[in-house]
Symmetry: C2
Subunit: 200 residues, 2 copies
């Protein structure tokens, strides 16, 4: 296996399915590298998402604009896909914005090439199924969490499951992601630190 | 094609992929029919969802219990699957309750048989992918709608996209599904009827 700019993606795929060298060759042939500057959008509301993008380096924020206010709905870091998968699957306009929070490099695969891979490469059907199932589980858990968890529970879960978000993102984005005001997030953090102190 | 109790499911599957008679025979061999009485649960919180179930007749309500209160999260009618797919996929305990709102008949497929079908039947991988993608799109749209739409917009969307829910479900379940109080739902319905009258 030759190490190149597509190797991180190959490792990611190998976490889901076995891919032969021949199968990977077919995949690699339709990939392309794209570099983004900090503040550049991968997609904006109203555009159709034509590519799935895998992050080689950099990080991204996903947000919607609701009543002229930005609402942050997710973050993505290197080693994962960053895509409006709903828009990609339906080939309907995106409802969201995806912006690079620092200079970034992604590996892109076009919608049409994805369909060809599904027809040509049997393991690709399985990969597509496992990815869709993985995303379904994630979005279901997130929706249930937003519906049923208190702000404290949401923040505790975020700390436990996605510490990278806490470490790397500004407070205002985290608050927005949790559906609370920045002041409420400050209070929660303060309360938790005091409780930690008491427990020790 | 022989018409039997599995025919509605075969028609549903045919809406996604082409299935040969031989492939269907392999599928049918592992299906089983189950009858439920009104008020019986398909699954309860804490149980692991071992089957996907396709509704031949009857309807179901999905709910969670949050702080000792029932919160309705979805409804399902005949001709569709009714399953905690997150629990099924992960084989982890369910977080929800699924109850029959009237006498019902479902066609069940066990988790282990599903895995065997994925290995044996190539079209099954594609079917599994398309179903997972379909569910991902639905849950994403529902989550976005709950986050960004006003109660009026939620109700209008429900009327347009799922009139069966409006026609068949009690107001208190619909209100819960929309995340509002029953009194708020009454006000919204009243306001809409007045507006309709004015428009005519």
């Amino acid at each position: 296996m030759i190490e190149n700019e597509y190797s991180p993606l190959r490792k990611f795929v190998a976490g889901f399915v076995n891919v032969t060298d021949e199968e990977w060759r077919l995949h690699e042939a339709v990939l392309r590298r794209r570099n983004l500057k900090k503040g550049e959008w991968i997609i904006k509301q109203g555009q159709i998402c034509e590519y799935v993008s895998f992050i080689n380096y950099g990080c991204f924020r996903i947000y919607n604009i609701v009543k002229e206010e930005e609402v942050t709905t997710d973050f993505r870091f290197e080693g994962h896909y960053i895509t409006d998968y709903r828009s990609f699957l339906t080939q309907q306009p995106s409802t969201e914005y995806i912006i690079a929070l620092e200079d970034a490099e992604v590996i892109e695969l076009h919608y049409n090439d994805m369909q060809t891979l599904y027809e040509k490469v049997p393991s690709w059907q399985k990969y597509g199924r496992l990815i869709a199932e993985f995303l379904y589980i994630k979005v279901t858990e997130r929706a249930q969490s937003l519906l049923f968890d208190s702000p404290e529970e949401l923040y505790t879960r975020l700390m436990k499951e996605r510490p990278k978000v806490i470490e790397n993102m500004p407070q205002r984005y985290i608050a927005s992601y949790l559906g609370i005001q920045p002041e409420s997030l400050s209070r929660i953090r303060k309360r938790m630190m005091t409780q930690d102190g008491r427990d020790v």
